[in-house]
Symmetry: C2
Subunit: 201 residues, 2 copies
């Protein structure tokens, strides 16, 4: 009985440590991908950055593909949670929502996802994993956008309008990759936000 | 006098051959970038693909950066010329123009440019060259879009509307990278083409 209790007590911190290690690896993987691209992102580089042994990293993520798709998914989920937290009362000021949606595509997560995406287009091992991941993340982002914009998708054209807005946001993210494109982006977002308002209301 | 004439006669075919070699190298470079990405695209690989010696390739393009930026620029110019040729009478049916603009971002040139773009975001040697190139190509594409859409940029918001359309086209291109996204793209283009018509008229 005493031994069982001791086992339970021990197990909890061990699970916590394991979870913390996993999380450090995922965050290091996204940062590594954003800074060095796919070619420069190996399990060893990420393990070192996370302060974790290579063996421990491989215990959590048997393959390089496992590590990097899990990392992009983890950060995408965090990002979705943060986006919803910005607008806790649901449908909100439209301009603010459009800005927040566009911001999803300008940070290190977008850079990391873009590297993974482009690498996947040329690597057979990576392609199905990333295709499936992107479809899932894309559906979730669309879902949040519809909700926060208070868009009524039963009306014809509304679904495609929101999709086009997210495509525009992705394109703006790409334009921002090499240069600080913030001033132009603000003007485009203001104008498209206004157009959108006219369609959705 | 005879020697001078002989020289002139010889020089013309030599220049033609040199131009043809250059063109073969540029086309091979774009195809290589689209298929293998930046990491798999070296001057040697391109030279072999073009059926040209490595020395001849380096005579035309001293560095890897020279070759690939020149290649993306060359194909972008061809693409602009082809786009204008589609609408020889200037402003045209808006839906057809929007479709043609979006198509710019779905072929091998976009794939090649995307690889170059993403590589440039992590490589100091490449970044200034690609930044400058993209700015130039972007201005030209915007110019053609304004012209073919018959958009009056002196009216407030029109410039940003066209810019947003091209950002959307770029985002649609990115969405098409891993999966055949044609059916969704058509619906988005139809809807935003209509919205755009309302704004521009």
């Amino acid at each position: 009985m005493g031994a069982v209790n001791a086992g339970l007590v021990d197990r909890a911190p061990k699970q916590d440590r394991s979870r913390a290690t996993r999380q450090r690896l995922l965050e290091a993987a996204v940062a590594c991908l954003a800074e060095h691209g796919w070619a420069g992102s190996t399990v060893s580089v990420v393990a070192e950055r996370a302060g974790v042994s290579r063996g421990a990293a491989q215990h959590h993520f048997p393959t390089r593909e496992d590590l990097f798709t899990a990392a992009v998914e983890y950060v995408a989920e965090q990002r979705s949670t943060a986006l919803r937290a910005l607008f806790p009362d649901g449908p909100a000021d439209r301009h603010a929502v459009v800005c927040a949606l566009v911001d999803l595509y300008t940070g290190p997560l977008f850079r990391a996802a873009l590297h993974l995406w482009v690498a996947a287009s040329n690597e057979d091992q990576l392609r199905p994993r990333v295709t499936e991941l992107e479809a899932r993340v894309g559906r979730e982002t669309h879902h949040i956008a519809v909700e926060l914009l208070g868009a009524d998708e039963s009306r014809p054209g509304v679904r495609e309008t929101v999709q086009g807005l997210l495509d525009m946001a992705r394109g703006l993210g790409l334009a921002n990759l090499l240069t600080g494109d913030g001033a132009r982006r603000e003007r485009v977002v203001a104008q498209w936000g206004e157009i959108l308002g006219g369609v959705l209301d």
